[in-house]
């Protein structure tokens, strides 16, 4: 691993943690457990696209681990981990068959995986199946937030291209 890549990864990890922590402070107008914008996923997508799957996984794992410790919410780590890993698996599998203008689709499918993983973990930990009632809401939320973060990533990649040309 060269220094350039290592530095980029470190920076992306730091950015994703900041985004993760700021997002945790934003109150949401609706009370649905597990629903958030998931802007940190922009970093995961960006890393999958520009660095590679394994690098993206490393950034994701460190963000989940450190982010939840700093947020003072160790219990939430299991949910973040289940969601994040399933999201990463789905997006990694889709990467070879998708083009750059399809990142928003990759992101939606990843978000669906994230919410499914989180819901599964919630059912497992809480020992009740009643949370399955939230599945439809979580699906709708995943499509909306996934499309948003995916589109953001496409914009980001476009800007980074321009930046690289300028430098």
């Amino acid at each position: 691993m060269n220094v350039r890549k290592l530095t980029t990864m470190a920076m992306l990890t730091a950015i994703s943690m900041i985004v993760f922590l700021i997002e945790a402070q934003i109150p949401l107008p609706f009370a649905v457990p597990g629903v958030k914008l998931g802007i940190a996923n922009v970093i995961t997508l960006y890393a999958i696209w520009t660095l590679g799957r394994r690098e993206a996984l490393a950034i994701l794992l460190i963000r989940v681990f450190l982010g939840n410790i700093i947020a003072g919410n160790v219990m939430a780590m299991a949910y973040s981990l289940a969601g994040g890993l399933l999201c990463w698996v789905i997006m990694s599998l889709l990467k070879p068959v998708m083009g750059r203008n399809q990142i928003w689709l990759m992101s939606i499918l990843g978000a669906l995986g994230h919410n499914a993983g989180q819901l599964g973990m919630a059912i497992l930990i809480s020992g009740t199946t009643t949370m399955i009632w939230y599945a439809p809401v979580l699906i709708v939320a995943a499509v909306v937030t996934g499309a948003f973060t995916g589109y953001l990533t496409q914009i980001l990649l476009g800007h980074m291209d321009k930046l690289k040309k300028a430098v």
């Binding site: 945790a24 109150p27 949401l28 009370a31 649905v32 457990p33 597990g34 947020a71 003072g72 919410n73 160790v74 219990m75 939430a76 949910y79 068959v97 998708m98 083009g99 203008n101 399809q102 689709l105 939606i108 499918l109 669906l112 919630a122 930990i125 809480s126 020992g127 009740t128 009643t130 949370m131 009632w133 939230y134 599945a135 439809p136 809401v137 699906i139 709708v140 499509v143």
Partner: protein, 128 residues
């Protein structure tokens, strides 16, 4: 190459569209299945803490070993999360519940408050 990409975009959009329609249909079905409940089931850390009547005003305090703190209140036939030390406060924001379907959940502290209709309770009371 471009047509191939456009084709696969179409495929995924249709797939996600179907899922979205199914989810919205599911939301409507859940809405219609919702009915007024009689009892509250509280599940804490994966174990049922107890089943309590909605008719009886009560307050429960849950203090976990890992620092979780929740106060559940039953008042005037409704149950709600009065207090919680979780960062998202989603459980506290949840509207007071007296119907079945989606429960009040505090994910970080692993606390689930669910309203059920209980037939056995009615039989015991000899109401019918």
């Amino acid at each position: 190459m471009e047509s191939k990409s456009a084709k696969s975009t179409k495929f995924w959009v249709i797939l996600i569209g179907i899922l979205l329609v199914a989810a919205v249909a599911g939301m409507l079905v859940i809405q219609s299945l919702r009915e007024e409940g009689a009892q509250v089931v509280i599940t804490w850390n994966g174990e049922v803490d107890g089943t309590y009547s909605l008719a009886e005003d009560r307050t429960f305090v849950f203090e976990g070993e890992k620092g979780g703190y929740n106060v559940v209140t039953i008042e005037d036939g409704y149950v709600f999360m009065a207090e919680a030390n979780c960062p998202d406060q989603i459980c506290v924001k949840h509207k007071p519940l007296n119907e079945t379907a989606d429960p009040i959940v505090c994910l970080p502290n692993s606390l689930v408050v669910e309203v059920i209709t209980d037939e056995t309770e009615n039989q015991l009371d000899g109401v019918s």
